[in-house]
């Protein structure tokens, strides 16, 4: 079993829906973006193309972050999900230096998005985001346990995201990678990410 994601860049419209869905689901504080969208403009007027690259933790098979973590806070589960144990993390941020995808964030200080102290939503969500430690996407494992897809997948209005078992050759993600030539980001780094992109 190896959970993985396929993102179809042809379908992605760069609406930031995944980023917002992730924030709403996981109540990540200001300065922490488990999911984000990188925009790029290419070409010259009038032949200009704007493209979007949704980013999240790649849940690598051979994670650089896990290798450098001095405290065993970063571990890889049997289902391939890379997690950070906030009880073990000391906040040295070495994993942030090692991650080639910029998927990790240090939560330095508790802050509200809206000023004037935390609102009810933030009060409920922030206990899962202790300060002084590093955090990142965990493929919404709490939703997976209930048989649901990660929030970014379930809420993608363009249906550009697919989620499933990369080890199962008959799964939709495996089929898409095979048939539509799915690509990993920064393959030369050798981390073998579990997130694949279908070319735009």
């Amino acid at each position: 079993m190896r959970y993985g994601m396929v993102i179809d860049l042809k379908r992605c419209i760069g609406c930031y829906g995944c980023q917002i869905a992730c924030k709403a689901e996981n109540a990540t504080p200001p300065g922490v973006f488990w999911a984000r969208v990188l925009k790029q403009e290419a070409g010259r007027f009038p032949n200009v193309r704007r493209s979007s690259l949704p980013l999240l933790c790649m849940h690598c098979q051979d994670p650089a972050c896990q290798q450098v973590c001095p405290t065993e806070a970063t571990t890889k589960r049997d289902d391939g999900i890379v997690t950070v144990d906030s009880e073990k993390c000391v906040g040295c941020r070495y994993c942030m230096m090692a991650c080639p995808y910029g998927a990790r964030y240090f939560h330095a200080k508790e802050r509200s998005y809206f000023g004037q102290g935390l609102n009810e939503y933030e009060k409920a969500g922030y206990p899962d985001h202790p300060t002084g430690v590093v955090e990142k996407c965990h493929f919404c494992h709490h939703r997976l346990e209930k048989g649901q897809e990660p929030a970014c997948v379930a809420n993608c209005m363009a249906r550009a995201r697919y989620f499933g078992d990369l080890d199962d050759p008959s799964s939709e993600v495996s089929r898409l990678i095979r048939e539509k030539r799915g690509q990993q980001l920064q393959p030369a780094v050798g981390t073998d990410p579990s997130v694949y992109y279908l070319p735009a």
Binding site: E72, C89, A98, Y113, P199
Partner: protein, 302 residues
């Protein structure tokens, strides 16, 4: 208070940038990490010279400086109370190896210093502790360069040149501390051989800096940008004033002059201080110029 102020404004801009700078290990409390790297390296170098020249005062200075370096490391951490956990992965993490080396050095070094002071350092126990302290020193001098060098995400750091550079700067830092100590009246330090060794190490480190920058300027886009940041960007002032002027020109110039002529102890002390400032700034500049490999060039296309 508005949300989009620093540091979030900065982060927001960084996340949009094609070439994203690393800030965690250089800004805010990140300076303590750099201070820790600087002090632990210079302290380890001081131990080497103090053993060679048989300077009990130098041994004590070395222990104090490395301990301060360790403290600076700890202050940097987000969760200080869990620092003991850092020793758990020496098989794969250079930070674990660094902390273990520092601990080994401080314990064995402190006992060795006490034995030396009591005149018992020549016994078997003294020799074992002498060896262990040197093992700790070797670990301290080695680990910093490797901490950076194994980071594939930041091409400017991901080079085998950084470990020798950091070792050279640790060794010269040790010589510089002893020069400052001599200027402050710590007795028993033979200045002439120390000056010569220091001059040789400073010249070597200058050559290493040049090779490092030349190598990086022929690497990928992120490494080239890092070099540009050092030579003409946001780290340029620190590089030219700190690394080049204070760290290389002053120690080499006055070092040559003092070897062939004679200069006062105060001037030698200034050479040491100047050199130490250069040691710190080389670590600052390497960290400040660190830029993540670009993701935007990776947009998969057919």
């Amino acid at each position: 208070m508005a949300v989009w102020e620093d540091p979030f404004q900065k982060l927001s801009e960084d996340l949009k940038a094609t070439l994203r700078p690393q800030r965690e290990w250089v800004a805010g409390r990140g300076l303590f990490l750099l201070l820790g790297h600087f002090l632990s390296g210079a302290g380890a170098g001081t131990w080497l010279f103090s053993l060679y020249f048989e300077l009990p005062a130098g041994l004590l200075i070395s222990l104090v400086v490395v301990a301060l370096g360790g403290l600076a490391h700890l202050i940097f951490l987000g969760r200080l109370g869990r620092a003991w956990r850092i020793v758990r992965r020496p098989h794969s993490s250079w930070i674990s190896r660094g902390l273990l080396s520092m601990t080994l050095f401080l314990i064995s070094g402190a006992i060795y210093w006490w034995l030396d002071r009591s005149g018992w350092a020549t016994g078997t126990l003294g020799q074992v502790l002498w060896g262990l302290s040197l093992l700790g020193v070797a670990g301290i001098l080695l680990y910093k360069g490797f901490v950076y060098a194994v980071s594939k995400a930041i091409p400017f750091w991901n080079t085998p040149l950084l470990p020798p550079l950091y070792i050279a700067y640790g060794v010269r830092g040790g010589a510089a501390i002893l020069l400052v100590a001599a200027a402050l009246g710590v007795g028993g330090i033979e200045l002439k051989p120390l000056e010569l060794i220091k001059l040789w190490v400073v010249v070597s480190s200058a050559v290493l800096v040049l090779i490092y920058l030349a190598g990086m300027s022929n690497s990928g886009v992120a490494a080239r940008r890092s070099v540009a940041e050092l030579l003409g960007g946001r780290a340029a002032v620190a590089f030219y004033l700190g690394v080049v002027l204070l760290g290389l020109v002053v120690p080499i110039g006055l070092g040559v002059f003092s070897y062939y002529g004679s200069v006062s102890m105060a001037v030698l002390g200034l050479v040491g201080l100047s050199s130490l400032a250069g040691d710190f700034y080389v670590k600052y500049c390497v960290a400040r110029a660190g830029i993540y490999m670009p993701l935007s060039g990776e947009f998969p296309t057919r």
